[in-house]
Every structure is written in structure tokens, then in C-alpha cells.
Amino acid sequence: MDRVSVGIAAFLAVSAAVATAAYAQQKDAAQEGIEAYREALQDGNPAELFELSGEELWKTPAGPKKDSLEKCDLGLGPGVVKGAYAQLPRYFADTDRVQDLESRLLTCMETLQGKDPKPYVEASFTAPPKEEMIALAAYVSGQSKDDPITVKPKHPKEQAMYDLGKRMFYYQGGPYDFACATCHGQEGTRIRLQDLPYIPGQKGAAAGWGSWPAYRVSSGQMWSMQWRLNDCFRQQRFPEPVYTSDATIALSMYMAANASGETMKTPGIKR
């Protein structure tokens, strides 16, 4: 708690400096400043608060079955949280589906706790049911911090999901002809001053995939990967992706497999 408030104070100080610097100097200086405040924040990422409340949600009995999520199988066996996020998405035999973290959490909430996933799927990202999902995602992702991303599609359904994700990544549509590739398909480009990771490459995929869920300083919100994707689809002028739908899981599989071998830096902190 204390570390976090120190971190926030440090951030405020540095970001004020960044704001003045941006006026006085060129964009490169502003970029460096942003890097600096990200570093300053490493010890006190406000995402820690979400990890804590996520851990509590994980351990507290809830739902019609009055059970906790502690026996949830995230791919490494019931109850194993450590390192699980770095190996998602993956194929799960019990659902016969490839699942990302958030869809897997819904499965566990349904089977272990007897909760209906529907309100969780349909709620807006700022409504309480999604706040639960995001806190849980923050907690689980934190238990893979600094682990190597290990996602190597082997099961035929994992390979199929990767190919569908790649196709989705390049799929143009809508009034602006945008695809993910329009904004994330070239090295070293940006929109305004926001750097765009090159997602077909390992480094760029890791920069994107390996740092979400993340606390977004500009909005003061904790975002899960599902929320990140939702907002990119909005900018793409596409219709809204259904929460934990296959298109979002396929894209996640594409990003995670491309990033495999790099390091998980979750939960992250963003501009």
C-alpha cells in the first residue's frame, strides 16, 4: 500500500516534468521522459492494488456453490497459478476449446462457483462484473511476472487457432479498410506519439502481449488484454468483439505464440 502511494507521488512528479519537457523540447525527449517515469513506477505500479483484490476474489467462496476459485485449472493442474499465465492461451480438454485467461476464468466461475457467465460477458468494462474479471486477471498475470512466455501451438486446435488469429490480424474491413496490420504491421511506426508494436515479430509481440493486463496512467484504469483488444477494434472502426469470443482468443494466440521465448512483464504499466 505504502509502496504504491510512493510510486504514485513519484509518477506525479515525473509526469509534471515530462509535461514541461514536452513543450520545451522535441518529441524524442518526451518519449525518453515517458520511459523514465515508467522506470520510476516499477516499484509502485498501482496495478498491485488490483492484484491484491484479485487474490482476495480468487480465495473467497462465492456464487451458488459457495466455493472459491482455488481449485481452478489454468492449464498447469487444479490450483496452480504460478506460471500459468505465461503459457496461455492453450487447449483445454474439458471444454474442448482453446482458451485465454479470461475465458478460462469464466469456465472456472461457472463450474466451481456455479455462476452464470452471461452477465460477466455482457457487462461494460467499467461495470462491477468486469471489474472482478480484471482484478482476477491482474492477480493471475502477476503470478507469471518475469517468467518466459511459453506458447507453442501443438494441439491441432491450437494450430488452427494460431492460423485463424493470423488471418484476423490481416483482415481488412470497415469504412477505413483497417486491419490490425494497418497499425501493427510495420516496424517502428507510431500513431501521433504512441509507439505501435510490430506484432508479427517476436520483440513487438512481446511488447504488446507480455505487458497486459496493464494499469493505464492516462485513464487511471486497469485494463485486461480483452479490454485492450476491444479498444483497438473500436479504433479499427469494427463492430464490437464479444468478450472472450474466438476472434479475440485467436488474436491472443497469434500474439502469444509470436512472443514465445520473451519475458512476461505483467501486470504492466502504460502511458
Binding site: 518529441k27 493470423k166 490481416y170 469504412p175 511506426t189 501521433r192 473500436r234 469494427f238 463492430p239 479475440t248
Partner: protein, 226 residues
């Protein structure tokens, strides 16, 4: 009859295999042609209408479908199709109705700055922005610009203002695919994002000698440093 069928089957196999018969894969592993049914099912199940962004936006026109496999679209084998797609897009361009190319560069700057429009959080009825600064450097005073497109700094000063140059810029803004089949730039006029008057203002931003885009840089104005 039997022979003819065998022949047809052989032809089909040839077509699928393409020129590189030595390659092991017959169908592509991903993209158009690879399990289209699964992809279509995924699209149908994964999106829903929200606000003005309806699921019919997922239905591609020929240009979008062609450009959704960038490697194939850029390959020598696709050269003819690229030309055909550019011609079809060029045919959509509506030229200025009164023959005048340029509007007011100050209005153009506002349109270039604005990125609003066409998302599910936008309301219908309000004018759209051009999104230009998201991808281009334009006026030297705006340092927050993107780099997906080339810098347009000094555009009119460098390119000149002859009819042909104006025409090319108008066509690029109206329908960017008219000269580059898989340009990453939206087709602002063709897709109804911007109207004729707005495009004229943007043209003025690029070409008007008084537009900051064409302002002489300090070093050029004051000569060598003292």
C-alpha cells in the same frame, strides 16, 4: 468422359499447387483459401452491432479482400490484379464539382487534426475528421504526428501546383487505393468519411502558399547562422 474428368482433376490440382510444385503444401496454411468456413464461422460468432458500428462492416469489398493477404497481394503474380483494383478505385473518384481544387487551409488544419468519426462511440450526424495527423507529419508546429504515412511537410512547395500534381493529391485523399492498391491510407471520399468541401480544405492545407505546411523553415529564411 472418364478421361475428361481425370484431366479436370489434374488441372485443378495444378491450379491449387500453383507454380511451385516442389512445395509440400497444396492449400495455404492460413488466410484466404485456408479453411474459409472456420474463419467465417468465427467472424459471425465473435462480433455484434454497437452504436453505428454494425456487423455488416465485416463484409469485405474486393479491395479489402485482396489486401488481407499482403504478401500475396504484393507478389509478382498479383501484378495484374493490383492494376485492375487501382483502376476500379480510380473510377470512383469524384473531381471537384466547380473545378476549384483549394479551399481554406485553416479549416483543413482542423480536419487534419480531428480523428473523430465512425467508431461505435461516435454519434451519427456530426462531421468526421480526417485522422491525417495520426499517420502524417503535416504542419511543422504540430509535433504530435504519426509515421504510418510519409511526411507531408513542404508538400506544395516541393511538389509544385500544376494540374497533374493537384489531381494526384485529390485522388489520393478521395480514394487512396486509386494509385496504390493496398495503401494503408483510408479512402476518405469513396467511403463517405469526408465530403468535397472538406477535401478542398485539406488540399489547401497541402498546397496553399500561406499554409504553414509550405512555410519556409527558419534556416532557409534567415540564411546562414550568424
Amino acid at each position: 468422359m472418364k478421361h475428361a474428368m481425370k484431366h479436370a482433376a489434374f488441372l485443378a490440382a495444378l491450379l491449387l499447387a500453383g507454380p511451385a510444385l516442389s512445395e509440400t503444401k497444396v492449400a495455404p496454411s492460413w488466410g484466404p483459401g485456408a479453411d474459409d468456413a472456420a474463419f467465417t464461422r468465427m467472424l459471425a460468432a465473435s462480433f455484434k452491432d454497437k452504436g453505428i458500428a454494425k456487423i455488416d462492416r465485416l463484409t469485405q469489398d474486393e479491395t479489402q479482400a485482396f489486401c488481407s493477404d499482403p504478401e500475396a497481394a504484393a507478389s509478382p503474380a498479383a501484378a495484374e490484379k493490383r492494376l485492375r483494383i487501382e483502376a476500379a478505385n480510380l473510377a470512383t473518384v469524384k473531381w471537384p464539382s466547380d473545378g476549384k481544387w483549394l479551399g481554406d487551409w485553416k479549416e483543413g488544419e482542423k480536419i487534419a487534426q480531428s480523428g473523430r468519426g465512425n467508431t461505435w462511440t461516435d454519434k451519427p450526424g456530426e462531421p468526421n475528421g480526417g485522422n491525417c495527423y495520426n499517420c502524417h507529419q503535416i504542419s511543422p508546429t504540430e509535433i504530435s504526428y504519426g509515421t504510418i504515412g510519409p511526411s507531408l511537410l513542404q508538400y506544395g512547395a516541393l511538389r509544385g501546383r500544376d494540374e497533374e500534381t493537384m489531381k494526384a493529391a485529390w485522388a489520393k485523399i478521395y480514394n487512396a487505393k486509386s494509385a496504390n492498391a493496398c495503401s494503408n491510407m483510408p479512402r476518405a471520399g469513396h467511403m463517405g468519411i469526408l465530403g468535397e468541401t472538406q477535401i478542398k480544405h485539406l488540399m489547401a492545407l497541402l498546397f496553399d502558399p500561406n499554409s504553414p505546411v509550405n512555410a519556409q523553415s527558419n534556416s532557409a529564411k534567415s540564411g546562414p547562422a550568424q
